[in-house]
Amino acid sequence: MTNSLWGRLDDVAGDAGYDDHPPRMGFFTDTSVCIGCKACEVACKEWNQVPDDGYLLTGMSYDNTGALGASTWRHVAFVEKSLDVSTVDLGLPAMGPPEGQGQATESGDNGIRWLMSSDVCKHCTHAACLDVCPTGALFRTEFGTVVVQPDVCNGCGYCVPACPYGVIDQRKEDGRVFKCTLCYDRLKDGETPACAQACPTESIQYGEVSELRQRAANRVHELHEKGVDVARLYGADPDDGVGGDGAFFLLLDEPEVYGLPPDPVVTTRDLGSMWRHVGAAAATLVGIGVASFVGRRR
């Protein structure tokens, strides 16, 4: 494997050994137009025959699937956030907008903001899950996406804590791990992934990553022009800690508000150093061993 572990990488599929391959495909999820309809969640389950994830009222706004996991490959987060607006009327939750506060957000109400965002596997340029997989069950496709082969996975679970986004997870009863495949089967047929196809508002945009990055930059610019200063891209930067995501986002608040790590780094960035430290420690151990035998015989 010639996988470089870190930094900018412009041809992921090529790096993974594909000579002649299609362009890298991915998602731009524009959460500013998401209406939280969850069509993406349902479409994903229908297409990929993912089992239900239990029937639990979480109390987390309208989110009852909670997080991405082995049986939730698309997850729509609902963030209810009060806006700190000092009100004239005591006893009343934030009601009236102070001057000029109105356009600071994309949301229509000045007392509360309800952010919705459809999360998914990021199909990282440097995918920790893939790096650490000891069996090769996780692999890079010709589209530059990251996919698990369920028939190879031995359930070692290494990929689970490796993912800096907490995406991939194990299905307890089954032992294997699962996550979004970016609808590899559909891509091979030239089709759009099920979730993107179902999204009514084009919050999920599927396409060539290079083109999507352009589109995303334009959209942020457009929103900034409109005074939505809070708009920012997440995962679109090819120089970030994972070399950029194949599935990136436009957010209206800090990433952690949506349950995303603010500055994720692929763990294998430090792998060289790790091995060096392991080597040194191993040597130290040998040293202790040797030292234990030198000196007085007692």
Binding site: P134, C156, G157, M274, A281, L285, I288, G289
Partner: protein, 308 residues
Amino acid sequence: MREQSMVPEPEFESYYGRQILKTPTWKTPDVPLYLFLGGMAGGSALLAEGAALSYRPDLERVARLAAAGGAAAGTVALVHDLGRPERFLNMLRVLKPTSPLSVGSFILAPFSALSGAAALSNLTGRLPRLGRLAGAGAAVFAGPLATYTAALVGNTAVPAWHEAYRELPFVFAGSGATAAGGLAMVFTPVAQAGPARRMAVGGAALEIAAAEVLLTRVGMVAEPYQQGRPGRLMRTARALTAVAAGATALAGHRSRTVSVLSGAACVTASVLTRFGVFEAGIASARDPKYVVVPQRERLRQRQAAEAH
């Protein structure tokens, strides 16, 4: 206003307080035991080789058995931990340097085979030369076996593990030595156990020192090592290690009783350390604070640097 008498919690936002990372699916006690067994077996293999070279047959036998037994039990623990144990061998289909688990399989497998052969030969007295050769081979893999598990856990996004990747190998090396020495002290006559005692004491010193560096260097991520159950485990382990090492140094060579007791304490301390490290990692994965706060800080520093 609430009282602000305590140190204020670092301010951070999260999604309903939910964890960001996935909790490692690795099971207890399988995995922490495996961490322990690997270290103990590695240290023992070294001890066995030294004993063979310095002609301490009692020590050699105990250490050989410890190395082989540790490796075998470790393999069982590892296989047991797999979600699909029947697919254990898939791990040996490829060697992936980016995957410490893969690399580890290629350490564990030969080590198990070699240490097993050495132990068998030692027990039966058969093929002594080959046995010795196998023992020497096992010793080659001993250091890596005892320490690669630090890379195994370090090479994850789990804050308490990843942030500690520099120190953990030394903690594990030290802890492995403590365990190997301790175990040998329990089963070997005092007269032959000198190297075991020295190994235990040396390991303890290394472990305690490395853990100390770890706690001071990793910032807030040290919390899980200090709080709650993992905190208790780590503290107990350290105290036990210190006491056992002290006792060993002072009286280990004089009293079989002291030797047995402090040897057992060493082993126990090593087990506790592994459980502590393991559980500290789990705790840090469960709390979004350990993801958000350090990453925010990193971003802040980067932005500050860029601004200059």
